[in-house]
Symmetry: C2
């Protein structure tokens, strides 16, 4: 069996009935400035990026979010067409969707938030349709920890895996609420600066030990162009980001990563540590596509072959033959 054949094998769902996955998070308009250009009022939001990336892996994605009357119906249709259910997306016809405007520096690892308009998000109370109750994989995109917690509590059966993303704003402003929800989840994804802030430790190894004592069994620290680390008990796994000629727009890369990660776990229905390593490679793959164009443009236009080739690029990037011996 060639490596590519093995990848193809890996990539296909191993179970005829794929798992169900619920994604909770924002759907938004973004205005983005990067050193390479600007784009006004394009589709964005954590749940948008997460579900689009995951849709390359499974077809039973159930979205929980809120949008205003200004959110384009065609975007909803596009997502439905990709197997993303939107029964749990509330439409507040007379209000405006969440809006974010940001500007990236040359290194693309740092950005300034210029405008945040909560709009519909200010009063968001997630609706959980009955059809969503059978939820094996739950991905909680970045949102206020109170809402993330309420979602978990509204599920009658605890999902097989709960993954949560958060950010510095909640670490600083709602530490107690965040601490509560951290006790209820399996995997936490945050970036390196946030891991340092949450733990009070500069060393990421020490930060990880500290955070793993707060509840999550797995911790993924995202380092942007410097890759991602997975911590679990005393194990650590590292996946680089793919070195790209151009990073066009980093917006959504972390969410595309999370979508690929959880999507792959749901597709394979295997939450072992070894499968999480593979899932991180698939997450990194989806992030590497995401940054190639503005907004979600690249994420809605990927082929199965693109994904297989890109995963092969990751294999070539890190593989050395000491690792190939039994």
């Amino acid at each position: 069996m060639t490596l590519l054949e093995s990848l193809q094998k890996t990539f296909q769902p191993s179970h005829p009935k794929t798992s169900s996955m619920v994604v909770v998070g924002t759907m938004a308009f973004d205005s983005i400035e990067t050193p390479f250009g600007k784009s006004d009022n394009i589709i964005g939001g954590a749940a948008t990026y997460i579900s689009l990336a995951a849709s390359y892996f499974i077809k039973n994605i159930r979205l929980v979010s809120v949008i205003g009357g200004d959110f384009p119906k065609e975007q909803i249709s596009l997502m439905n067409h990709r197997g993303i259910h939107t029964d749990g997306v509330q439409v507040k016809e007379n209000e405006k969707s969440f809006f974010w405007k940001g500007s990236y520096h040359l290194d693309m690892n740092t950005r300034d938030t210029l405008v945040t308009e909560l709009n519909v998000l200010a009063t968001f109370d997630p609706i959980f349709p009955e059809s969503y109750q059978e939820c094996e994989f739950l991905m909680l995109g970045n949102l206020t920890p109170t809402i993330q917690k309420s979602v978990i509590e509204r599920l009658r059966t605890r999902p097989k895996l709960i993954v949560l993303d958060t950010m510095n704003f909640w670490i600083e402003h709602t530490p107690n609420e965040l601490a509560q929800v951290l006790k209820m989840i399996d995997v936490l994804t945050i970036n390196d600066a946030e891991a340092r802030e949450l733990s009070g430790e500069y060393s990421l190894v020490k930060a990880a030990k500290n955070i793993l004592e707060r509840g999550p069994k797995y911790l993924i620290i995202k380092k942007g162009e410097h890759g991602a680390l997975l911590f679990h008990e005393n194990n650590v796994f590292f996946a680089p980001a793919l070195p790209l000629e151009e990073v066009f727009d980093p917006t959504g890369a972390g969410d595309a990563f999370a979508g690929g990660f959880v999507g792959y776990l749901a597709q394979t229905n295997d939450i072992s540590y070894d499968n999480m390593k593979r899932a991180i490679i698939y997450g990194s793959t989806m992030a590497s596509f995401c940054v190639e164009k503005f907004g979600t443009e690249r994420l809605i236009n990927i082929t199965q072959e693109d994904i297989e080739e890109r995963v092969q690029d990751f294999v070539d990037l890190v593989q050395f033959d000491i690792a190939l011996v039994d």
Copy 2:
């Protein structure tokens, strides 16, 4: 064969007669301040770190450097004891050795140079003993490009592999001299900021393409705690740095990396791309030891078992089983 047995096999010289290696560079006194402490007038210098790291791989290391009468004789004895020949180390009894004082920031990836006293280095004209002429592997530590070039010209037979390290100072102040020596070498090692400065490209992929057109067939971009990239033709290989609980003192890490890299290549006498990948893992291994203590303290106290265990840590860190299929 277990993985560890395979590592042990890899680690032993595959040829009874190991290759010869010449190291050219500074031997110095350093005063270092890090967030964890300070250390005054300890032994440092690129050639010191390079040759100590390489001495774990081969025993025919020939050093070319210059020191003052103040340089401790015991340090020379220690190096001789580790198989490092010092016939090419000039001693200027009435002068002082090169001195550097620097201070590291909390992130340990940036530092300020507080004092540089060239002393003996100001008039350094490398001596090349006849016994050094048979040189298969030449490692040119960071020095003025004119001296690096003169060393290559003084060798009657071109070495099998010439590796050169440089820094921002030479990129800015002697670009023409640097351009000349770049045409004469095989492998260039520089850090990410220097790669960007030398090429004028922000993207490291574009920077690498640019630099590979200037002479070197291989380019290693060192990213400190974020690992190292190897570029060759259209190939790219990435090795992470090992996530450590504490980075005590990063001084010499890049040189320890270079020493492990060239030392392993010389030991195995194999300069193929695949072996360079392995050599980078050994280089990263030596760098990971170097930063654990101040100065060269850790580098003079490593066992074969330490190295094997540490390489295994690197395997565990990046290995995912997609890469293990034929």
